[in-house]
């Protein structure tokens, strides 16, 4: 007897009740799936962990570095980076004041953890996402395959993919990082692809007419012209990574998300608000600075006679 013959009760077919699989059969299917994934994770879980070890060490190293650096230096670095990115004293001062306030309100250590996580996650997304975007821009077929995957990554309820990640890698920093990246990587891939595709065909033709090979064309012409879009992707990736901070704390990632989670469970309004606002402050700083930087990348587009 085949699976379907066993599981569908043909004699009870009716248009009033959907002919669903019989309960026991459904249970079998689910069980089989669970079992096979569990045995997969028993078998390969450790291997996976070793694969991700370098990432873990890097994250830990970076977090330690931030925590072991004297706070005035961190504040100065924040201000300096903000200025370098945006060329605006106001933004730079705002960033420094936010960090001072965060520290004053006792959230320094958590903030450092979150900044470390976000930085490493963003870096990982860029390192993986940009080449993927380039690949996608080169071929219609690759684009057709990757686009739905990105849609799934962005729409699938986070807990659904959190579960297998946790089953495979346990609770901790690396699964948190992966969860953040799954959610935050699509924009950088999409916008890299889009940016590269939007580059003026005439300009690419000019590059071709001089005998540029693919690499010369990509790095000298296509990439620089797509940079504003790629940068918008980086900006969105950072924002989405920050949005994941609280959820990542559910699988044991330390940082500003942890207290928020606690306050939800215990109704600590002030604690939740404070840490939530700290996350918002980080988001605003990252966003403004990276947007200003992105704008500066487009300076050449301005006409006029500023020289």
């Amino acid at each position: 007897m085949s699976f379907f013959d066993r599981c569908v009760e043909y004699d009870k077919l009716s248009i009033w009740k959907f002919p669903a699989l019989e309960k026991s059969c459904l249970r079998d299917v689910k069980k089989a799936t669970d079992e096979s994934f569990k045995s997969f994770s028993r078998e390969y879980g450790e291997l996976m962990e070793t694969i991700f070890d370098p990432l873990l060490y890097f994250l830990i190293w970076f977090e330690k570095l931030l925590n072991n650096t004297p706070w005035p230096i961190i504040v100065l670095i924040v201000g300096g980076l903000a200025y370098l990115g945006s060329r605006s004293w106001k933004l730079s001062a705002g960033a420094m004041i936010s960090f001072l306030l965060i520290g004053y309100l006792g959230m320094w250590k958590n903030t450092m953890s979150t900044v470390a996580l976000i930085s490493v996650a963003t870096l990982l997304c860029i390192v993986l996402g940009i080449p993927l975007g380039v690949w996608m821009s080169r071929s219609e077929r690759v684009q057709r395959i990757i686009t739905p995957i990105l849609d799934i990554m962005q729409t699938i309820p986070i807990f659904v993919y959190l579960l297998p990640v946790v089953m495979l890698l346990g609770i901790g920093k690396v699964p948190g990082l992966i969860a953040v990246c799954v959610y935050a990587m699509p924009p950088i891939i999409r916008l890299t692809n889009l940016g590269l595709r939007l580059v003026d065909k005439d300009i690419l033709e000019a590059a071709d007419s001089f005998g540029s090979n693919y690499r010369q064309r990509l790095f000298n012409v296509q990439f620089p012209l797509a940079l504003p879009n790629i940068f918008a992707g980086v900006n969105q990736t950072i924002m989405m990574a920050l949005a994941m901070v609280v959820i990542a704390s559910m699988i044991g990632v330390k940082g500003l998300g942890m207290p928020v989670l606690q306050s939800i469970q215990n109704q600590y309004l002030a604690l939740g608000l404070m840490n939530g606002l700290a996350i918002v402050a980080l988001a605003i700083i990252f966003d403004r600075v990276s947007q200003q930087y992105g704008k500066r990348l487009q300076r050449h587009r301005e006409g006029g006679h500023d020289a």
């Binding site: 007419s209 005998g211 000298n220 012209l225």
Partner: protein
């Protein structure tokens, strides 16, 4: 017979997914509209044969959509042909490997575009250096080389600007310098001056003619403007719906338009000011009158004839008598021809 630099042989281009399959239809006489209606393919070039001499300016003319841009892009293979040959110095560009094609584009042919197509994120100097950088030339050498050509087209002092900060005319000077800096001996210009206003356009034509006197490149120049074609072209080929309807030197085309399309094209020109007495001189004609050089335009010759009350002019080339043109012949020549072949013959 001058050296042939570029030889276009039986070139066909059909746009569409199954272009090769459409070829038999065209060869058996199907036209552009029919192909589009029945098979949804666009016939862009049909059996094009042109021999382009070395060191001259070959103009390719035609109305919008006649296939000019498509044709010039076959020379450096920015567009793949459906069938045919493109021999440059005897080598078929269309049969080159990727590597050979890259080198061909780097060293042998460079291009100037209608909408300039400068690199907006690079400075003027960096734009000028692009072709050299692609060739693998180091900065120390590329910079002075590019600078030389920027100076040559009158852009000294603008090196550090960005294209968006320059006017159209200046941008196309950059386009020209960028193409010249690779020292390629073929220069492809697709309506390079069409986007410029008339005064600037004349300026640019002068720049090109000036440079050409010194550089002797093989220039393929696309335009839909007959005045421009007559001003700079040593040879003209006229395209219509992807077919060459007439080619030859400008004087021949003006005196002997091959069909209505060509005669429509040339109907607005100022014939007395364009036609040269050399092209109407008749060795058998014995008219008495002043001697004038073959390149004198009819307008000037007529003035002289009327002033001296002569029968016509004696025509000399490099000081040697090659014939004469009577007053009547000159007047016939400046009257507008009809497309009727017989009628045209009688003007001579």
């Amino acid at each position: 017979m001058p050296d042939i630099k570029i030889q276009i042989k039986n070139l066909y281009k059909i746009f569409g997914a199954n272009d090769k399959k459409m070829l038999p239809h065209i060869e058996s006489g199907m036209g552009k509209t029919e192909l589009l209606d029945r098979h949804a393919h666009v016939l862009a070039l049909s059996d094009v044969n042109i021999d382009i001499p070395a060191k001259g300016i070959q103009v390719i003319m035609g109305l919008s959509g006649s296939g000019k841009s498509t044709l010039i892009r076959h020379i450096n293979r920015l567009i793949e042909p459906t069938s045919g040959q493109m021999l440059v110095d005897g080598t078929d560009v269309l049969g080159m490997s990727d590597n050979e094609l890259e080198n061909f584009r780097r060293f042998k042919a460079s291009m100037v575009f209608q909408n300039f197509a400068l690199f907006p994120h690079k400075t003027i100097l960096e734009n000028g250096m692009y072709g050299l950088k692609v060739q693998g030339v180091k900065d120390e050498q590329a910079k002075p080389q590019a600078q030389k050509w920027l100076d040559r087209v009158g852009l000294s002092g603008f090196e550090d600007r960005y294209p968006a900060q320059l006017s159209g005319g200046m941008q196309q000077r950059v386009g020209l310098a960028r193409a010249l800096s690779t020292d390629a001996d073929i220069l492809l210009m697709d309506e390079a001056f069409s986007a410029l206003d008339p005064l600037i356009r004349t300026d640019m034509q002068d720049v090109l003619l000036d440079l050409q006197k010194e550089l002797h490149k093989t220039v393929v120049f696309i335009t839909h403007d007959l005045d421009e074609a007559l001003r700079i072209g040593d040879n003209i080929a006229i395209l219509r719906d992807g077919e060459v309807v007439q080619q030859g030197n400008p004087q021949e085309i003006i005196l002997n338009p091959a069909d209505e399309y060509v005669s429509d094209f040339i109907q607005d020109i100022n014939r007395p000011r364009v036609l040269q007495i050399g092209s109407i001189a008749d060795p058998k004609n014995k008219s008495k009158g002043p001697s004038m050089d073959a390149e004198t335009v009819v307008e000037d010759a007529l003035q002289e004839v009327i002033a001296t009350k002569a029968e016509g002019v004696k025509v000399t080339q490099n000081g040697k008598l090659i014939g004469a043109a009577s007053l009547e012949q000159m007047i016939h020549a400046i009257a507008r021809p009809t497309a009727d072949k017989k009628g045209i013959e009688s003007y001579r």
